[in-house]
């Protein structure tokens, strides 16, 4: 009898703990993780040569961009969470380059849309006296033409005659502020921690939908080509997984 009672208590505690895990917490911290990929494999900085659809060979020494105004939304109920002061300099680093920022204390609702922007909204882009991720010291601000680079990709372009030229994609300006939106099945939070993981494919910046020709100019900052690059970077994200 005694043993059975202990067993029952034990069983009960399992059930209770199982019940616990099904209770939705009131709020959750959600990590946004961005992996930097090139040709579907982790981006290799400096040492690996890549080729774009135009046939230009290049390597990458640095890659970073702003993800801003992050929102989670339920398209049915209208429930929306917008991160306050939401500007993140995504700067993937490491052997398998990735960058993570965290949304704190997000109310646990059944969000079915993930929204963020590449770049800085017009109001914020009109002044560069900022600290933290928007500090001009991050090499992401233009001071002679006020505003932020939304994306920076630097490296070398290799020409046919073994010559090397600088590769510099510094693209910003208000027109190139791009919304990124993912529809997902309604989120069901079980824990106080969650993670949303994105792949960021840098070849898309050069190849799709616009093929960027680096043979003529490999310094792309303003104008029509920069706008084409922006149309491309708006497509470089895929949602890899959500861990609740």
């Amino acid at each position: 009898m005694k043993i059975s009672l202990v067993f029952l208590l034990f069983l009960g505690s399992i059930l209770v703990s199982c019940d616990d895990s099904d209770v939705t917490p009131e709020s959750v911290n959600i990590k946004f993780k961005f992996n930097a990929l090139a040709d579907n494999s982790p981006l290799v900085l400096n040492t690996k040569t890549y080729q774009n659809a135009n046939g230009d060979s290049f390597n990458v020494s640095d890659f970073k961009f702003y993800a801003s105004n992050v929102k989670l939304r339920n398209s049915q109920t209208g429930d929306e969470y917008q991160e306050p002061i939401s500007y993140h300099l995504v700067h993937p680093k490491g052997d398998i380059p990735s960058y993570t920022f965290e949304l704190k204390d997000v109310p646990t609702k059944a969000y079915d849309e993930i929204v963020f922007f590449v770049g800085i909204d017009k109001e914020r882009n009109a002044s560069i006296d900022a600290i933290g991720d928007l500090d001009p010291n991050n090499n992401m601000a233009w001071n002679w033409n006020t505003g932020y680079k939304f994306i920076l990709l630097e490296g070398d372009v290799f020409k046919a005659n073994d010559e090397k030229g600088g590769l510099a994609l510094h693209v910003g300006t208000d027109t190139n502020y791009k919304e990124i939106k993912f529809k997902v099945s309604p989120m069901k939070f079980k824990d106080t921690e969650a993670e949303i993981e994105f792949d960021t494919e840098i070849m898309t910046i050069f190849d799709a939908p616009n093929v960027i020709d680096l043979s003529e100019t490999s310094t792309i900052m303003f104008g029509a080509t920069a706008d084409k690059v922006a149309e491309n970077y708006a497509k470089m994200f895929t949602l890899k997984q959500i861990n609740f």
Binding site: Y87, E123, A126, D129, A130, D135, N143, N145
Partner: protein, 366 residues
């Protein structure tokens, strides 16, 4: 987290409050500012210029802010070699210009590509630099601060340098309510000081305000009339500028390489309609701010007037205001009209501005 202020310095509750308040007013340009109304400083101004001095809500003008800005403006610690301050090229006696066509005063010693502009009544400007590329005073100073041929300052090093100098830590605390110095706050303080550089007490101002003892000679009165007929379309109102960009016929050929400063506003917009367009400079204190134009090509005001009367070069973006009935660009001016204009322009010199002790180098830096 996006706005990670140095947290080890934020130990007390009081500090947290100021930290949060800082974030609040920092967070959005439309938010209310953190400073109590009592600290907001109304800069002195005369009605003929404007009713009040505008400022952005995220950088309200305070006495402590203006005074800190003045100190920073004159402090060579802001340059890479700690030998050059803003005031090295912006001299009060020349209405904060430098008397040199193209300066070589910068850290590298390399000649700059544009002439040092005056700093007068900047609060009303919507764009700064000759091509109006900087959108506000809070962004402007990052340019000269970091340019390798100007002050070449590493922004990452600047806060620590300042924290170890004079009583800057206390001054930043007083002006901005924070314990940690950031380069953004350096530039904000500089912006506050620059906003205080108001010129509104020239002989012209006193004459227009009908003050006692204010009078114009007949020649100066004639000059004013000619000015109103032939110049004030661009040099308009008591600001003596329309704050716009125009092509005033200085060049007919423009370099087309990327980011070339001699393209004018085109460098910013990449719109061919903006080739050769530069901001209309104010004419206040014009008699003490030679040489003239964005590259300082004219040594004196007579050369400037000769340019407009007979030296303009044609290009498709030359402002239509200059077009004569035959299509050629110029401002027809007789020699006697030029003499009268020169006499009038002298009346725009504001000795109170050029000698205002509030704009001068602070004693601590002498």
């Amino acid at each position: 987290m996006a706005y990670s202020i140095n947290k080890e310095n934020l130990s007390s509750i009081q500090n947290w409050v100021s930290f949060l308040a800082f974030l609040l007013f920092f967070g959005s340009c439309t938010e209310k500012a953190v400073l109590p109304e009592s600290q907001v400083f109304q800069l002195p101004i005369s009605k003929n210029l404007a009713d009040s001095v505008p400022y952005p809500t995220h950088n309200q003008t305070t006495k402590a802010g203006v005074e800190l800005g003045r100190m920073l403006f004159y402090d060579p610690i802001l340059s890479a070699n700690n030998q050059i301050s803003c005031a090295s090229c912006h001299l009060q006696s020349r209405a904060f210009s430098d008397g040199i066509a193209l300066s070589m005063m910068g850290v590298s010693g390399k000649k700059l590509e544009r002439h040092t502009p005056t700093l007068i009544n900047l609060a009303w400007n919507e764009g700064l630099f000759w091509d109006a590329g900087a959108k506000n005073l809070e962004s402007l100073a990052f340019g000269p601060l970091t340019h390798p041929d100007e002050m070449a300052q590493d922004l990452a090093e600047l806060p620590a340098e300042l924290e170890n100098r004079f009583d800057y830590k206390e001054r930043f605390q007083e002006a901005f309510g924070v314990d940690t110095i950031h380069s953004a706050l350096v530039v904000r303080a500089l912006a506050q000081f620059q906003r205080s550089l108001i010129s509104t007490n020239s002989r012209y101002d006193k004459f227009i305000r009908d003050e006692t003892n204010a009078s114009f000679s007949e020649l100066e009165k004639t000059g004013l009339q000619i000015f109103q007929q032939k110049c004030e379309q661009c040099h308009s109102g008591d600001f003596f500028t329309d704050f716009q960009v125009h092509n005033n016929g200085l060049d007919s050929i423009f370099p087309m390489d990327f980011e070339n400063p001699l393209q004018g506003r085109y460098r910013i917009t990449l719109d061919s309609a903006d080739l050769g367009k530069y901001k209309t400079p104010t004419l206040r204190n014009i008699a003490v701010t030679a040489p003239y134009m964005h590259d300082g090509r004219f040594q004196n005001l007579k050369e400037v007037l000769n340019h407009y009367s007979s030296g303009m070069r044609d290009f498709e973006t030359v402002d239509s205001v200059f077009r004569q009935t035959d299509g050629s660009p110029k401002i027809p001016l007789s020699e006697s009209e030029k003499t009268a204009l020169l006499a009038f322009l002298e009346t725009l010199t504001d000795e109170d501005f050029l000698k205002n002790p509030n704009f001068a180098k602070p004693d601590i830096l002498k």
